[in-house]
Symmetry: C2
Subunit: 214 residues, 2 copies
């Protein structure tokens, strides 16, 4: 085993964020997969690593880190190049707020475990589950698109000419949304930024279909 082990799942968009961040920082990692639909993340052994029973978790020589955004901020503090947050506090606040539109207001509501509860509590069928997924994605993509297209700080990427935490979240969510047929036509800025992200090796290598458990 190397220095860093990433406990994750190919299709998890939060895992994607951390894989791409590690790639951007040039850090190799061992890949351990948990098949979420089979509940492997709820084993006693994994709960010892992450009491939440969620992926991803990053095992370092000193601690096991959880929560994708906390992991990425840690990587950015420890390995500053290339930076995933700008230097200016206002700019940092902008990047974090763009990231959290996805990380707080889309992903958690559309997580696999939430969709499973909709099925078991409310007898939601495939169509109802997909409609739920699309509703929350579209609600927040609409706001994200407005900001990215109106705010002068937007550049080739969400914030200027360099990849940031916001792009890690954006791109992971766009990939995920493809599975539920979200119509991307109303979100040209998001699509454009996602395409530029995916042209980078660090993002391409992090893509779900490029993972060993795909």
């Amino acid at each position: 085993m190397g220095e860093l082990t990433l406990h994750n799942y190919f299709r998890s968009s939060t895992s994607f964020r951390v894989r791409a961040a590690l790639n951007l920082k040039g850090k190799e990692f061992d890949y351990v997969s948990y098949h979420l639909r089979r509940g492997e993340q709820s084993s006693e052994e994994y709960l010892q690593l992450n009491a939440q029973g969620l992926v991803p978790a990053l095992q370092t020589p000193n601690a096991v880190l959880t929560q994708s955004l906390a992991i990425i901020e840690y990587l950015d503090e420890l390995y500053p190049e290339p930076p995933l947050l700008p230097a200016d506090p206002l700019a940092r606040a902008r990047v974090r707020s763009l990231a959290m539109i996805v990380a707080c207001d889309i992903h958690p509501i559309n997580n696999l475990r939430v969709l499973m509860e909709l099925r078991s509590r409310f007898s939601a069928d495939d169509d109802a589950v997909a409609a739920w997924f699309r509703h929350w994605t579209e609600t927040s993509f609409s706001a994200l698109e407005t900001r990215l297209s109106n705010e002068s700080e937007t550049g080739r990427f969400s914030h200027g000419e360099n990849v940031s935490l916001a792009d890690l979240c954006l791109s992971g969510q766009v990939i995920n949304s493809g599975r539920f047929n979200v119509d991307m036509a109303p979100y040209p800025a998001i699509e454009r930024i996602h395409a530029d992200c995916m042209s980078l090796d660090a993002f391409a290598k992090a893509h779900p279909l490029a993972q060993p458990d795909a």
Copy 2:
């Protein structure tokens, strides 16, 4: 109007986090209230400030900041005393991950707008909505309790002897959970830390019932 204006709602737990952070930093702010059940956060005027139509938003002389955690990190960078994050990267990662258990994995799934969708899409009644709220709170409080009670870094507060970002999230969620009768008996560490937080003026002043729109 002063330098800082907080657009918020007394009962919003994300608003609570920012109010308490501003109080801890000793920053005065003008209070503007949006009645969420009446949809005041969806007015054209407010959408100009925050395209997401969510509270809180912090208006500063330079920009309008959104997303409570991004706002709090900004305040901490601009006004370092007292710090809301420790100095060491691993410790910062711990505090952020504890905060995000609440900020990503409880609050967004139990937000008013999500509960309203459960009613309109799945005809969820009051009992079903309350059961949903309790399920997600209990799932994540259980993991948070395990971490707070097992990890040696826990002190009087979530991380050592000083209030941090993690406590702002924890306390806001505990207050919110009272409305849906979450049984707190299984979470003594969370309850103890919440009680210590509420003994501080900065937290007491941020309590929903102490706000002008309560």
